[in-house]
Each structure stands twice: as C-alpha cells, then as structure tokens.
Symmetry: C2
Subunit: 309 residues, 2 copies
C-alpha cells in the first residue's frame, strides 16, 4: 500500500514536472495553485466553445458568477457540516490604525497576524451551482423548468502533488431546476452526452458511480447513502496515473436538497429537484495534454477538428 502510494506520487511528480518544463503550468510555491500558459488557456477556451455548441439547441440561460459568494448563502447549504476541510472563508482587516500597527508587528515577528482579521461577508465558491440557487429563492419554476449554463472558479482546500488536483479550478456546468423527472432526465442525458463529447476528443472515459468527499466518520455513512441512491456519476480517465483514474466530469442529482433550502418550487407546489453536469476545465485540458501530447498543434486532426483548434 505504501509502495503503491509512492508510485502514485512519482507519477504525479513526473507529469507535473513535464507540464512545468513545457511552460504549460507555472509554479506558485503552493501545491495545486498554478499559473496557466496561453496555450493551456487556449485549450480551455476551445473546450468551452465545444460545450457551448453541445448545449446550444437546449437554449440555456447563461450566468457567470465570480469566485466568491455570500457567506449567508454558503451557510444556507450544509457544506460547513459535510466538507468543512475544503472550505475557503475570506477574512479581511477591519481595525483601526493602532490595530494595524499591531498586526504588522505580529507579522514581522513571525506571529499569527491573521488573528487580527475579521470575516468578510463572502466565502470561496465550493461548486459552480451554489450561487445560483439563492437567485431562484422563493420562486415557482415554469412548467418546463429552468436550464442554466454556468462557469465559475471553485475553491477546495486540498493541497496535492497531483497536477489534476488543483485548489482552485473552473467548472463549466449545465444545471437543471424542475420536477424530479426533469432533473433526472437532465442528469442521464448529460452523462451520456458528456461521455460522447469526451470520447470524440480521444479521451476513453468511463462512467463510475461516485460520492462526494464528505468529512469525518459521519461522512462515510453519507457517502454510502449517496452511492446507494446513485446520485453521483463521474467520467474518469487516466491523467497523471494509469492506475488511479481521474474524474474530469461529474453528473449529479441533488434531489430536492437545494429546492428545500432555498424554497424553489414547481408549479404543483412541490420543492424543485435539481441536477447538474460539471466539466472540470483544467482537468479536461490536463487529460487532453496527457493523451495527445504537450503540443496541441501536434494533436490528431480529428481532435483539433472537434475543438476547432
């Protein structure tokens, strides 16, 4: 087990080093936080246009949220209970000039100066769809439900040597709000469609039943329940490691979890169900670079054609 882990870390280190040496990733000195080259970003942009084309016939509403959300919204979800170790709470300095001198003094002495900070009204976004639900709070959905196209940076505090496990990355999502049937159909449609789309890019993804990384002992029960109810599927493929595959897309049913929390209802007065497909944009780019090589100009012509690169 220990050896297996060592091999895994070695494969992470190898691919990460290749990416850095090729200038595709720039190191920040913190695990999982990188600058991206123009080439890397260009692949993300091309993939995003591919996603836009795939969803165009469904005529989604488009909303773009910044990487932060209202602290109250965060606390309206159960993230603090279920995944506290991944959260990002934003704190700032609200004190006087005297308190400022004291804080700077602490910093200069190598003491914990952050105790001088106070929480701001915002948190990092844990998943692209979180900031959407409060904008639909206390509304009744139209009979056809709603389909929303989202993209946001999301934050997860999980420093890792795996270049595919970033602390901050972008999710492109299609979210459905509607009846249980509408939500379920959305999830199933996009699980198939997503698999098709990624396969067409030469990524041999397979769908796997999955669970969120819930915290602690209670989390194990929640994860088992989530799997039993078949709420989460991931599309996985080899990125840094051939042995441990990486999820590059995930398709989730939330049941009426968010509908209840934000009082979003369907025409018949029941709490709305929601479901989403999320594409991990940096991970998909890393999978493409791993599969087809570090120079997109040399990628197979079918892949370039699909991406209109």
């Amino acid at each position: 087990m220990c050896n297996l882990h060592g091999e895994l870390v070695a494969s992470y280190d190898k691919y990460r080093t290749e990416l850095i040496e090729a200038g595709l990733l720039l190191e920040s000195g913190v695990q999982g936080v990188y600058g991206l080259s123009g080439t890397f970003e260009g692949i993300i942009e091309a993939f995003e246009r591919y996603v836009t084309r795939a969803g165009a016939e469904l005529n989604p509403e488009v909303v773009r949220f910044p990487p932060i959300l209202n602290r109250k919204t965060y606390l309206s979800t159960d993230h603090i209970e279920t995944m506290p170790d991944l959260m990002g709470s934003i704190h700032t300095f609200k004190g006087s000039q005297l308190e400022h001198l004291d804080m700077v003094d602490k910093m200069n002495k190598g003491e914990d100066w952050t105790r001088s900070l106070a929480p701001a009204d915002v948190m990092m976004i844990p998943a692209a769809c979180y900031p959407l639900y409060p904008t639909a709070a206390n509304t009744v959905l139209p009979s056809e439900g709603r389909l929303v196209d989202l993209r946001s940076f999301v934050f997860r505090h999980e420093p890792s040597p795996d270049p595919a496990r970033m602390q901050i990355f972008r999710q492109r999502e299609y979210v459905r709000l509607g009846t249980p049937e509408q939500a379920h159909a959305h999830r199933d449609y996009w699980l198939g469609k997503g698999q098709e789309m990624l396969t067409a890019l030469g990524l041999p993804v397979k769908a796997e039943l999955a669970n969120d990384p819930f915290f602690g002992r209670g989390g194990k029960v929640m994860a088992a329940t989530q799997k039993e109810q078949e709420l989460k599927f991931e599309l996985v493929v080899a990125v840094a490691s051939e042995e441990k595959l990486t999820a590059i897309s995930s398709s989730n049913c939330h049941l009426d979890h968010f509908g209840k929390e934000f009082n979003i209802t369907t025409e018949n007065g029941e709490f709305a169900h929601t479901a989403c497909i999320g594409f991990g944009l940096e991970r998909i780019t890393l999978a493409l670079l791993k599969t087809h090589g570090l120079d997109p100009e040399q990628w197979p012509s079918e892949v370039k054609q699909q991406l209109e690169l």
Copy 2:
C-alpha cells in the same frame, strides 16, 4: 457635502437597479458581488478580444493566474502595510472531528465560528500582476525585457452601492519588466493607446493623475508622493454618476519596487523596473452599457464593428 453624497448614492442605486431589472446583473445579497448575464459576459469577451488584437503586434507572453496566490507572495509585497483593509485572506478548517462539532455548534448558536478556522497557504489576488513577479524571481531579463499579457480576478474588500465598485472583478493587463526606460515607455505607450481604444468605443475617457487608496494617515503621505512622482494615471469616464467619474483603466509605473522585492534584474545588474496597463473589464462593460444603452444589439454600429460584436 452630505447632500452631494446623497445624490451620488441615488445615482448608484438608480443605475444598479436598472442593470438588475434588465437581468444584466444578478444580486448576491452582498454589495459589490454579482452574477453576470450571458450578455454582460459576452461584452467582456468581445472587449478582451479587442485588447488581444491591440497587443498582438507586440507578441506578448500570455499567462493566466487563478484568483488566489501564495500567502508568502502576498507577504513579499507591502500590501498588508499599505492596503490591509482591502485584503482577502483565505481560511479553512483543519481541525479534528471534535473541533468540527464545536465549530458547527458555534455556528448554530450564532457565535463566531470562524475562530475555529486556520489560515490556508493562499490569499485573494489584490492586483493581476502580483502573482507574476515571483515566477520571475532571481532571473536576469533579456535585453529587450519581457512583456506579459495577464488576466485575473482580483479581490478588494470595499463593499459599495456603486455597481462599478465590485469586491471581485477582472483586470486584463499588459505588464512590462525591463529597464527604467522600457518600463516608462510601456506606461506612456499604453496610456495613449488605451485612451485611443476606449475613445474608439465611444467612451470619452480622459487621463487623470491618480493614487492608490493607501490606508491610514501614513497612506496620505504615500498617495501624495505617488502623485508627485506621476506614477499612476487613470482613464476616467462617467459610469453611474456624471459628477464623480469612474476609473476604467489604469496605467502604472512601479519603479524597481517589484524588481527589488523579487530580485529581478536587467542585463546590467540593476533591479528591473516594471509598469502595467490594466483594463477593468466589468467597469468598461458598465461604461459601455451606460453610454450606449442596456441592449448591445442597439449600440452604434461603429462600436459594434470595433468590438466585432
């Protein structure tokens, strides 16, 4: 003075309400944090392509940083000393299951649960070029210097009813690292070029000598020095208010401030000078919407042509 302030807030409220009613901005419940509609984001994307075309002949390196940076990098700048009230420090939960129960209990009782958090290794980015300098640390620049094209979300804790004063927004920047002459020439070139570019979009911008919003009494001295040395110019235009103009672009000389902090040198062994032009993408979009109307399809054809909308 009080009345003037009242009028200003009224003009902020009026424009913000118009934008929200038109569906261009979505409220988050926190001042200065909004969701953006597809139309709003489409203008940003078009303006970004316009900036790319304007800089293409200079053949810049392209780097894209995420909205967070290494805490050590943040502390290598003097931001904690000069603008602590704008900072965003990211904290997370690193405790045990027992400590988790205690934190959730505090939250449920309405107590300050954030005291259970610990600082993560990352902070919010205060300006788009901050994460660039450490990637050039301890290097000697080529004789022609370096030109880097950046875009990043930046965070500034300054909640405001002014729709143009967001807590999180995107800066698109061209940064020059080189000799004092190269840096100065870059600033002057882009100050003129930026003014041309924005004027061509029907925005009657004017260049104004400016200063950063330094903290406290000492900050007043720093601001005066910055003005005296003519280090910062802003391109300002009416956005929410005709009386109080809004900076939508800013052009800055940093002298050898970052060169020294990160030991970046020129061929002759001196510390590099740096300079940048930054375009405030959300503000420029708000200026365009204010000037030409809330429906981009109805904008003057010259403007649409320039933006290839």
